[in-house]
Subunit: 341 residues, 2 copies
DNA sequence: ATTAGCTGCTAATACGCATTAGCAGTCAAG
DNA sequence: CTTGACTGCTAATGCGTATTAGCAGCTAAT
């Protein structure tokens, strides 16, 4: 490994019989400056560069210029490990695509620490290696977010975020309207007694769903059951649903829907004949379940792409704070019955 | 975005009433040097650092020290886009895990260029930002590989690679022996006429499988059919298999096996009753196929982990070239029949 | 013949940090 | 009271590049 020293512009300069500054100018001088270097000299320098295979050290470049075409990606949970893999992958897909299109590389902020919880500002703030960063995760640390907002470091959140000492630039999914649309659809199909399985607080994504649900329900339908805690025994959840007389059940988590449906089937109940089930979101590998739930689609790749584009805008153009919510199209599915027929 | 200028050690120094050098020493001076700075001064500096939230610029750090705890990950194909996603993800999973354990961040080398083929040495060699890099992909550019081997930049390939101007450090899967084991198992179960569907050349991974197969077959079995081209019409492949009288067919690609089996079933033939099918490798989402093929397992995550560990060894310790082949355990499956009973 | 303007370059500096040599002061031993 | 060792720091330098100011030589215009 210890071997040939890395070539520098100085070496090239000596070989070409010019100064280091000239080499730098030949490589990437402004047109006005380049105009003052005759073709002949330029070719001499280029030739040396080509034959030696010299490439500028990006670190030094960044040192001098202040930018290095790297985007940081910070995830509050490890990006790949199995459980999460399906959650982050679609985002990363879009991010990588757009980063490539914009000619940026990606720095996955990983090291934050084994076992300990991940913090953006934890260690030597390796973040600053990147020109800006994307932040993703189900729940954000509000203190850190505040610090980001107040600071002068370009970043974009994936997923809507409440103001934190100022507006947060983000690209999110419009869960509220998507949820509302599903509620209204259920109402249109004759469902008047509704149940909601999932929390209504904490993370923005959860709040938005509940808000969309709550706003739509004032239109006439009735909320006959709201189970806040998730992941509880599917048995009990089903009991509660049956007891409530709900005809349509809205699940925040696909997993809950899957378990409840399984238990229902085991008891001889049928979805959607005995009650309809609607899932508020799409989940990768949903196809594993043999049942196609009525739901809405979260355009994760597109969110990644747009967030990346927004970040680049902020880095390069000093653009103002933007907040984008992407439409989540409904997914037909087979679990929402028509009560009117 | 335009806002407070980034803090530097100089600012801290002024605030604490010391020199920049002292700040640097307090932050990360060698014990011997630290011993010469009294507790009181150290605390004063630390206090300023804490209250201002200063963090050292990693770029400048790297500039001065030469290392920055970043590992590059170069993929010859885009890492996430759907088709490839399942191929790279398991590797990345292992890589991220180990990188985190070793406290390194990951730089995904992306930007190489839209549309054009990806080259390690393409652009401004952004590679050098990282302290070393992992290279993955089905097929490598041999010229580039040679340049890497000859150069003094630490790297590790994932997957076995032939010498390229010198031995290539890698962590791969032992496909040859895994293949041999499956052939011998088939032989032990009474299969004497074998078919091989898949290429025998080009990429190392393909060569190894064929080598393992060819070596095992000398033991007595007979190769009655070798279809080199893959992805051909499954119909014709099946015709050839049937005509050859082979009792066990080895597939390099799972996809081929799946298609052939489907066509066979459509014709009223059964795997493994009419002929056995063995797949030389494991594939993510293999579970999608309802048939569990007899195969061997490729420990992709472990490969990622070990490659990362090896790379860190090379970066930090100037370790010699290592070449590791991980054992690929056989997967029982239901497609290899016993002919002896 | 002076000036103005152009050409073809180079010297010098900044970027933020790590590191080394060494300075000024104190204190104890000889 | 000189020497040496030790303490508590700082000045200076280098890392490899980008960038700006400007120098020397020449030509053409006044």
């Amino acid at each position: 490994m210890a071997g040939t020293k890395r070539l520098t512009q100085h070496d090239i300069a000596k070989l070409a019989g010019v100064s280091q500054a000239t080499v730098s100018l030949v490589l990437n001088g402004a047109p006005t400056a380049l105009a003052r270097i005759p073709q002949e000299t330029r070719e001499r320098v280029q030739h040396v560069i080509r034959t030696t295979g010299y490439v500028a050290d990006p670190i030094a470049r960044r040192m001098a210029k202040g930018l290095n075409r790297i985007l940081g990606v910070f995830t509050y949970e490890p990006a790949f490990p199995s459980a999460q893999a399906d959650f982050f992958t679609p985002f990363l897909l879009g991010i990588e695509e757009e980063a490539q299109a914009q000619n940026y590389d990606l720095l996955l902020l990983t090291g934050a620490g084994v076992g300990r919880e991940r913090k953006i500002f934890a260690d030597g703030n390796r973040l600053r290696i990147a020109d800006g960063c994307l932040v993703l995760g189900r729940e954000f640390d509000r203190e850190e977010l505040k610090r980001l907002v107040t600071g002068d470091y370009p970043f974009v959140a994936i997923g809507r975020r409440e103001d934190a000492g100022g507006p947060v630039p983000y690209v999110g999914g419009d869960y509220a309207n998507a949820t509302r649309a599903l509620v209204e659809k259920a109402w249109a199909l004759g469902h008047e007694k509704l149940a909601y399985v999932g929390p209504s607080g904490s993370a923005e994504s959860v709040i938005d769903r509940w808000r969309g649900f709550a706003e739509a329900i004032t239109a006439g339908a009735e909320l006959v059951l709201h189970l806040d805690e998730v992941g509880g025994a599917a048995d009990e959840t089903l009991d509660a649903i049956v007891a409530s007389g709900a005809t349509a059940v809205f699940f925040v988590e696909l997993a809950d829907a899957v378990r409840v449906e399984a238990v229902a089937r085991a008891r001889g109940l049928s979805v959607p004949d005995d009650f309809s089930a609607i899932v508020l979101g799409s989940h990768v590998r949903a196809e594993r379940s043999h049942m196609q739930f009525t739901a809405f689609d979260i355009p994760r790749e597109e969110m990644g792409r747009q967030a990346t584009a927004m970040l680049v805008r902020r880095i390069e153009g000093d653009a103002p704070v933007e907040q984008i919510l992407l439409t989540c199209e409904p997914v037909e599915g087979q679990t929402l019955a028509n009560k009117r027929t």
